[in-house]
């Protein structure tokens, strides 16, 4: 059973389009995250949600909007895609917000986004 799953795995789209990436975890965790990994493999957190509440919102463009319909899902919607949005986006989850990073984070397989 996949613990943290993401769809789609690959996403190729034109500049200016709007796209969404979905993430689901079946671990019963309270906290979920979105990370962006750029072409140089540098990994940086974008957002974190705990029980559907936004708790970390790094400096990312307003075109990126996370949505958490329930604590098992955290979707990432991107408006007006730009060339620089091309990257690998990872979803992750951990058990307890209060423990913060002390809780092990479980990562999904990533979504490879290419904007043409």
């Amino acid at each position: 059973d996949t613990a943290v799953s993401q769809t789609p795995k690959y996403l190729v789209t034109q500049m200016g389009n709007d796209k969404s990436i979905k993430c689901e975890q079946n671990l019963g965790h309270d906290t979920m995250y979105w990370y962006k990994q750029d072409s140089k493999k540098f990994l940086k957190i974008m957002f974190s949600y705990n029980n559907k509440e936004l708790i970390i919102n790094e400096t990312v463009p307003n075109r990126f909007s996370p949505k958490s319909p329930d604590k098992a899902h955290l979707n990432l919607h991107i408006n007006s895609l730009e060339l620089g949005d091309s990257a690998v986006y990872f979803c992750a989850s951990s058990q307890d917000r209060l423990a913060g990073f002390q809780e092990t984070q479980y990562f999904g397989p990533g979504t490879r986004l290419l904007v043409l």
């Binding site: 943290v4 990872f90 913060g100 990073f101 990562f107 999904g108 397989p109």
Partner: protein
């Protein structure tokens, strides 16, 4: 601001040889340190973590890491690598409620 530096972008070792991947951090207080591995096309998997106590930490897959406060380092080691260890390795420091990652070290294994 907290930061993590992995000085080696790419390392190649022979199968069966020993391995050490370097990690240096910048953090004002007692650091919480992690090593993650990313296999090709996969997400990240936690290898080990250090919060306090014994400075030599054992992890999965035969890896260990040693925290050296005086050198601000948390190097990852393995006595004998296997071909399946070829992957990208990330060091990270806990900051606030998030992880700050280094830029990664790509490990290639020669047969």
């Amino acid at each position: 601001a907290q930061s993590v530096t992995q000085p080696d972008i790419h390392i190649t070792v022979s199968e069966g040889a020993s391995l050490e991947l370097r990690c240096n951090y910048s953090y004002g207080a007692t650091p919480y340190l992690f090593w993650y591995v990313q296999s090709p096309g996969q997400g990240l998997q936690l290898l080990l973590k250090y919060f306090s106590g014994d400075t030599l930490v054992q992890g999965i897959k035969g890896f260990e890491a040693e925290f050296k406060r005086s050198q601000s380092s948390f190097n990852l080691r393995k006595p004998s690598v296997h071909w399946s260890d070829a992957a990208e390795y990330f060091c990270a420091v806990g900051s606030g409620q998030k992880l700050v990652f280094g830029q990664g070290t790509r490990l290639t294994i020669n047969p």
